[in-house]
């Protein structure tokens, strides 16, 4: 006798939705490969052509695996787009479209409008690098936020135009070298400051805008989940080191990102309706030189007995101190959400992740 099985119905519904049809009776149950049997959704599959240790690939993987599968993505032109979709292959397991460099926000707006028109609740994500977000796609992003589309916009911030070979963007930190902000007799790298995009985005008075780092995946995924639950525009900027562009060892991607947070240069803040509602306190603030020393893009600042280098180091330290003061990042008393507790692991995973 067939009993009412709400769970079974739900499973059937999910199978229909996500394309895994139940096998007909008697058919051999397909043996899942270990890859297929992994206990997480694979939004971004292996075989993509990102560089070794790519922070952006990692960030995109982290975002999609906790956002998917009922999503669709509008992806701006950039490394992420190029390395994931060299026809006829695609690394994505979620519906995904790349249109142009500067229109991810608008493409996502259109997707979302269509979902609304069709009464579907598939969440729309927009992905862009710092070039596509801070710079060329800024207008489309602003329009998307202002029109209050139900879209989570994720900016993978690797602080330069990496796709074209490391040129400065408005997100490139002060004094960093790129191929268009080289250091030389007259220059110490980029002359201008990193644009405070998060503040600009937050000024749209949207429900949620936050900064995350690949060094803190549990925190990152918490932020993604939180944003996914919001009906309205949300924004996440993820600090994603680029071993090629930042000139560090590919194994140090996480270490560099961690130091970026721990020195205060990349504050992990959450802003709701324009007000800072949460920050990740730094348990032990490190000097910015700990962050700079790992990266070739700052190597000109590490020259001993160079007054200009010393001044720029001091400048960057002052910028970090400014962030620490502005956002109250100093977390001298241990806190469950601080830099240390957020990354601590225990047997069986991240304690926060198990909650």
């Amino acid at each position: 006798m067939a009993e009412h099985d709400p769970r079974g119905e739900r499973l059937d519904e999910l199978r229909r939705k996500f394309g895994r049809e139940p096998l007909p009776p008697g058919a051999d149950q397909k043996e899942l490969t270990p890859r297929e049997a992994q206990p997480r959704f694979r939004g971004l599959e292996s075989g993509h052509r990102a560089c070794q240790g790519c922070g952006e690939a990692l960030a995109a993987r982290l975002v999609t695996e906790c956002a998917g599968p009922d999503v669709m993505i509008a992806n701006a032109t950039g490394c992420l787009e190029v390395f994931t979709t060299a026809w006829p292959q695609s690394s994505w397991r979620v519906p995904w479209m790349h249109s142009l460099f500067e229109n991810a926000g608008a493409i996502a707006s259109g997707m979302e409008a269509a979902m609304k028109a069709k009464g579907k609740n598939t969440k729309v994500l927009a992905f862009g690098g710092d070039g596509g977000t801070y710079d060329i796609g800024f207008q489309a992003l602003s329009g998307m936020l202002e029109r209050y589309h139900n879209v989570l916009y994720v900016c993978y911030d690797n602080e330069a135009y990496m796709n074209t070979g490391i040129q400065r963007s408005s997100s490139t930190p002060h004094a960093a070298t790129t191929t268009t902000s080289p250091a030389g007799k007259e220059r110490m790298g980029k002359r201008h400051l990193k644009k405070d995009l998060l503040a600009i985005v937050a000024a749209h008075h949207i429900p949620y805008a936050a900064a995350a780092s690949v060094a803190y995946p549990a925190d990152l995924q918490r932020k993604v989940r939180y944003a996914m639950g919001i009906e309205g525009p949300t924004f996440l900027v993820i600090h994603s080191p680029c071993p090629l562009g930042w000139r560090h060892d590919s194994a140090l991607t996480i270490e560099v990102a961690r130091r970026g947070v721990e020195c205060g240069l990349f504050p992990l803040v959450e802003i709701e309706r324009g007000a800072v509602t949460n920050v990740m306190p730094i348990r032990k603030v490190r000097p910015v030189t700990d962050y700079l020393e790992l990266q070739g893009r700052f190597s000109h600042l590490m020259t001993p007995d160079d007054a200009r280098a010393e001044e720029e180091r001091a400048h960057l330290q002052a910028l970090a101190d400014h962030n620490i003061q502005t956002f109250g990042l100093r977390g001298d008393t241990p806190d469950a959400g601080d830099t240390q507790a957020s990354s601590s692991v225990g047997r069986g995973g991240h304690p926060a992740g198990r909650v």
């Binding site: 270990p34 890859r35 049997a37 992994q38 206990p39 997480r40 694979r42 971004l44 599959e45 292996s46 075989g47 993509h48 052509r49 990102a50 070794q52 240790g53 790519c54 922070g55 690939a57 990692l58 993987r61 982290l62 994931t84 979709t85 060299a86 026809w87 006829p88 292959q89 695609s90 690394s91 994505w92 397991r93 979620v94 690949v214 995946p217 071993p243 060892d249 590919s250 194994a251 140090l252 991607t253 996480i254 270490e255 961690r258 241990p334 240390q340 507790a341 990354s343 601590s344 692991v345 225990g346 047997r347 069986g348 995973g349 991240h350 992740g353």
Partner: protein, 561 residues
């Protein structure tokens, strides 16, 4: 033939056709199951990391079973071991080493409370029987491991009770009798063990007989003879040998009276005696030791050989310690000692490259005393062993304890190369393991092929600071001859302390590699893989960036060609 899709759309996940594994230029990640420093340093052969892992999973009984793979007496060692594991613990680089002995003791006590039994089955009735001389920790351990390995064991013990030094020379304040009795009883209850009490070698049974009647003979007689002690030939008339004094005290609770006492030596016996004399009423008890107190001044190889907390407690109780000091001369009034002349000395490397103790002229001073108690160590009592004794000990020719005779092994203090309960227990394990291999004609199982792991091979970013558990302790005023000074930390603290284990060189199942791989090349599996983790490296896609190895907290992943 690839056919173009309209508008050049692509199908999901098809990049799996693009094997990025060939991007790796050199090294690929591998799991390296290293030996955690605690395990590497454990004389008993325990793998503390392994049993902490079970505790971290909340499985106390499983943890205890992991302990007793090597050590059948954790409630004992948790109390009396100087725990080199804690000294070696990598967590010291982060905050403080784990309180391993406290957790081991709790586990041992919990096993007694819960009546947990050894995971051992009865050996076959016709299984070879091994003769074991001595029912001290080494002999008991050997018997236990025989049974684990499917052998039978016949123990010959001169004393009327099993326990050896544990029973004879360790005060109740450190090792309560009920705990000792419970662990020994559990061990001796194992099927396949026969215990012959009051069976003294050379008197009741001979080595030849044992050799004849048994598959092997394991000699664990301990050191029952005091080393001869004199200062330039002078011996006070009322000389009390340290160990004897302690045994008498442990047995009858009696101590000689004295106002000012000097104990000469540097081991746990000396320390126990100092504290017992002080508690018995001596005004001033001074330990004179050629070794040094732990600290920057002292070479690690020359630190006084005492359980650290015992040292700490002794200082609390007012014991004076003159380290790096030796007795030069006894000042006798008649044949009674009234004072000693002491002198500073150091262990220095001589021209021959070996270490010598060198006294410094001009540092001599005289201390008034009523009694000098030598505690400089003991030797094997020669009875029944005859020619096997070499300069006071049964000196084996390999780590397993083999003596020159076939299938005769030396275990425990009698070996003369180490002097802890844990080492004695470990000797039992090692000797039986070697013996079994020999009986089966198999090569000895490789021991120590696992590499070690230092703190700089860990990624300490992933461990939050957490305070080491502090065991309750009797106040100095409340300390008596009977009551155990250090208390039980309890289940909650034990479990919490276990969470502090870094899991050095062993998979913590923390998911870091799985989480951080930008290429999805780390696969998490439900089943435990052969290499002891839940993760596989999919080298078809691994580009060799090294992130997983870099971010592995425990150093379990290394990049290798």
């Amino acid at each position: 033939m690839v056919i173009l899709t309209r508008g050049a759309y692509a199908r999901p996940g098809t990049s799996l056709d693009f094997k990025t594994g060939n991007w790796r230029s050199g090294e690929a990640p591998v799991h390296v199951h290293a030996t955690a420093p605690c395990a590497a340093s454990c004389p008993a052969g325990e793998d503390q990391q392994a049993w902490f892992a079970r505790l971290q999973e909340g499985d106390a009984e499983g943890a205890w079973r992991e302990v007793v793979r090597a050590n059948p007496l954790p409630a004992v060692t948790g109390r009396v071991c100087p725990h080199p594991c804690e000294t070696a613990c990598n967590r010291a680089a982060l905050d403080a080493p784990l309180a391993i002995h406290n957790v081991e003791r709790w586990l041992g006590d919990e096993a007694i409370r819960q009546g947990w039994t050894y995971p051992v089955s009865a050996p076959a009735a016709d299984a070879p029987e091994v003769a074991i001389v001595g029912a001290g920790p080494a002999g008991l351990s050997a018997a236990y491991h025989c049974v684990r390995q499917g052998l039978r064991a016949a123990i010959y013990e001169a004393a009327p009770e099993a326990g050896g030094l544990l029973r004879a020379a360790i005060p109740q304040t450190r090792l309560p009798r009920d705990v000792l009795d419970a662990e020994i009883a559990r061990l001796l209850d194992l099927p396949g063990i026969t215990l012959n009490l009051r069976a003294r070698l050379g008197r009741d049974v001979t080595l030849d007989e044992l050799e004849r009647d048994h598959a092997a003979v394991l000699l664990a007689p301990g050191c029952q003879a005091n080393k001869a002690w004199s200062i330039d030939g002078a011996v006070p008339v009322d000389l009390h040998e340290g160990l004897n004094l302690l045994k008498e005290f442990v047995d009858h609770g009696q101590l000689p009276e004295a106002r000012r006492v000097i104990v000469h030596g540097g081991g746990n016996t000396a320390m126990d005696l100092c504290r017992a004399m002080k508690r018995a009423g001596a005004e001033q008890v001074t330990l004179v030791s050629a070794s040094g107190l732990p600290g920057p001044e002292t070479d690690p190889s020359d630190v006084i050989n005492v359980v650290p907390r015992e040292l700490e407690e002794a200082l609390e109780e007012g014991i004076e310690i003159l380290d790096h000091t030796t007795i030069n001369r006894l000042i006798l009034r008649g044949s009674r000692v009234t004072g000693v002349e002491v002198m500073s000395l150091r262990k220095l490397r001589g021209e021959d490259g070996r270490a010598h103790r060198v006294g410094f002229e001009g540092t001599e001073r005289v201390l008034p005393v009523d009694m000098v108690i030598p505690c400089i160590g003991e030797e094997v009592a020669p009875e029944g062993l005859g020619a096997l004794i070499d300069h006071g000990y049964l000196r084996p020719r390999d780590p397993a304890g083999r003596l020159t005779q076939e299938r005769v092994f030396a275990l425990g203090d009698a070996r003369g190369d180490h002097g802890t309960v844990a080492a004695a227990i470990g000797d039992g394990l090692r000797a039986v393991r070697a013996l079994v291999a020999e009986l089966e004609g198999a090569p000895a199982s490789p021991d120590g092929d696992r590499v070690g792991i230092a703190p700089d091979q860990l990624n300490l970013s992933y461990y939050d600071h957490s305070a080491r558990v502090a065991a309750p302790k009797l106040r100095v005023e409340a300390r008596t001859f009977e009551t155990e000074i250090e208390g039980d930390i309890g289940r909650a603290a034990a479990m919490a302390e276990a969470q502090r284990c870094l899991s050095c060189g062993n998979c913590l199942a923390c998911d870091n590699c799985w989480t951080f791989c930008p290429d999805n090349a780390v696969i998490k599996t439900v089943e435990l893989a052969r290499d002891g983790s839940h993760y596989l490296f999919d080298l078809d896609y691994c580009k060799g960036c090294g992130l997983c190895a870099q971010e592995c907290p425990t150093g379990y992943i290394r990049m290798q060609s």
